[in-house]
Amino acid sequence: MNADWTGGPDKLLEADQQRKDVARRFRNTQVPMIKLWTYYYGLGGDADEMSLDAYLNEALHLPAAQVGLIATAMRELSEGED
């Protein structure tokens, strides 16, 4: 599931920053990991729960398409709250 970083060092730096932002947003929500994964899976996500966990702990990179779905899942889940 690890992305192939052929885009050069700039691209990787950008992905690191994006991952950092997503991870921070996740820590600030009250959403449990399993709930986020289930929702992300429902959007068509392909990464397993452990990879998602690793991504949100900034230990693994995921392909851009998966990152987009994770961000979408978090946005839609937080819209559901309150």
Binding site: Q30, V31, P32, I34, K35, T38, Y39, Y41, G42, L43, G44, P63, A65, G68, L69, T72, E76, E79
Partner: protein, 255 residues
């Protein structure tokens, strides 16, 4: 509850509270089953311990988002007392909750801890307090609070009785929590299966129409969802409806 107003929420000892599973706490607060169960528990404890001349008020407080909330009570007076304490953010019941041990205040007037709360509770006619935490094995945090208008309102036998109550209630509650958690996970999974079916169909349709790969199809749908602020599965449903006129896509999912 004028006494509690304007008081900032504060940790009496600045001790960090343990992180607990948020969804489970939410269940304790929102499930009518669990709320009913806790109300029964409070009423039972209150009627079992009350004697002529010493009526016991009982309530249950649950920690939610690291803040205490009074969820069930034997009567309005008990609920008011729990809310008073939660408003101050400190008191014997919250201390019992944090320490995980039974706490008895035999004589509130002689109490030096929880200064402002102790005085406010005394003004409400409370003289002794017994707080017994419910051991939910880290799934959530709850405490059974008992208030008496008399000094030394709780005998050693009373304390043993309440502790036995609390232990039994906690084991039932753990089971209820576990079942609720599983049924919620199942509902989430069923919703995910349905949503994924619709989205996968729409991705296929976009791929065929645009002669593009799956990743591109996903980003077209995601962009539409973002810019119009519509949920991705609604965008997908619109795509399918526009092609085939089908309004309802069902995915069979069962245990």
């Amino acid at each position: 509850m004028t006494a509690g107003e304007g008081q900032p929420f504060q940790e009496p000892d600045g001790q960090p509270l343990e992180d607990v599973e948020q969804s489970l706490q939410q269940l304790v607060l929102e499930s009518p089953d669990i709320k009913g169960f806790l109300t029964e528990l409070a009423i039972l404890a209150s009627s079992r311990l009350s004697t002529p001349g010493n009526s016991i008020h009982s309530g249950v407080t649950v920690m939610r988002h690291k803040r205490p909330k009074a969820v069930a009570a034997s009567d309005a007076a008990a609920k008011a007392l729990d809310e008073l304490q939660n408003g101050f953010g400190q008191g014997p019941c919250l201390t019992a909750l944090r320490q995980g041990t039974t706490l008895l205040v035999p004589e509130l007037a002689a109490e030096t801890r929880w200064g402002a709360y102790a005085r406010a509770a005394a003004r409400h006619g409370v003289s002794s307090i017994l707080a017994v935490p419910l051991d939910l094995a880290g799934e959530a945090e709850a405490v059974l609070n008992l208030y008496s208008g008399r000094s030394n309102g709780f005998s050693a036998e009373d304390i043993a009785t309440v502790e036995a109550f609390a232990a039994q209630a906690a084991s039932s509650l753990r089971l209820i929590l576990r079942i609720s958690q599983l049924s919620e996970a199942r509902d989430d999974l069923a919703a995910a299966m349905h949503s994924r079916t619709v989205i996968d169909m729409a991705v296929g349709a976009v791929m065929a129409q645009n002669r593009c790969d799956r990743e591109t199809a996903f980003s077209i749908l995601t962009r539409a969802s973002n810019t119009r602020n519509i949920k991705l599965r609604e965008v997908a449903r619109t795509v399918i409806t526009s092609i085939s006129g089908e309004q309802k896509i069902t995915a069979y999912f069962d245990e």
